[in-house]
Symmetry: C2
Subunit: 158 residues, 2 copies
């Protein structure tokens, strides 16, 4: 019996949350510091979809829903990045850098990544555990321990 | 007039190609060395969808369609990663590493990234142009030159 191709893959599991165009664009807006429903609407997402997408990001633990009360108005919700949400900046940077290389804009990148404190530009790179930089075209993807463990269990069950 | 939120964003442009769960899982299979229709089917994608997704990856320049002829059989198509397709390994690694941190499997990662020649494990990290490693939680996303140029053009037109 062959192993289900997706059950033990961290890419497939991540895509359940992040493999959704609107979710990633909403995270982008959250990184720009937007927290409010009306601010998220500006990306052109239909209102029903926006509510559902924000709920899915809250359920997945990437955004936290908080209440705020504008002066003299009723209480409203705002949406703030959690630590797990902030950690998705590597996914946004990988998508953005790929786009800048293969679908470039005439005037340069529309979004850049930098050190918050100093403004130094940063780029994603592959590093070995010893800190040596490795070009992307030297890197391969292979099955990891989670896959082999699952395969061994499946063999034992049959 | 405000600037359209997505027109000048390399994340949004990249998501037109890579913001699609099946496309990323098909690329994962291509990195595992799979090239044939029947091999791609094992990820559980419906047959109609598979044909459309392979076409979209060819149209976007991530896969190249080639012909091969099995012994005594008719000619068939196979799908091989292009340089742009191979370069999407950073996107797969970013998704995978996020999943390993936030949706971990009990037995460890299902997929790992390593140097093709030596098998050394590699990880994605943010580096400054001087080669200094910066933790993801110190990195921020800001508008880049493409965004400011577009904004200036829009202001001049109004």
């Amino acid at each position: 019996m062959s192993l289900p191709a997706n059950a033990f893959c961290s890419i497939a599991r991540t895509l359940e949350v992040l493999g959704q165009k609107w979710n990633l664009l909403l995270l982008r807006e959250a990184f720009y510091g937007r927290t409010r429903y009306g601010e998220f609407q500006r990306i052109g997402i239909p209102s029903d979809t926006l509510a559902a997408r924000l709920d899915s990001l809250v359920a997945a633990g990437l955004l936290e829903r908080r209440s705020y009360q504008p002066d003299g108005k009723r209480t409203r919700d705002e949406y703030v990045l959690t630590a797990a949400g902030k950690d998705a900046i590597t996914v946004l940077a990988a998508l953005s850098e790929w786009g800048d290389r293969h679908l470039p804009l005439p005037d340069g990148p529309g979004i850049v990544f930098e050190v918050g404190d100093t403004g130094e530009p940063v780029h994603l790179r592959f590093l070995t555990e010893g800190g040596r930089e490795v070009a992307a075209d030297e890197v391969t993807a292979v099955h990891g321990p989670g896959w082999f463990a699952a395969k061994a269990r499946l063999a034992a069950d049959n």
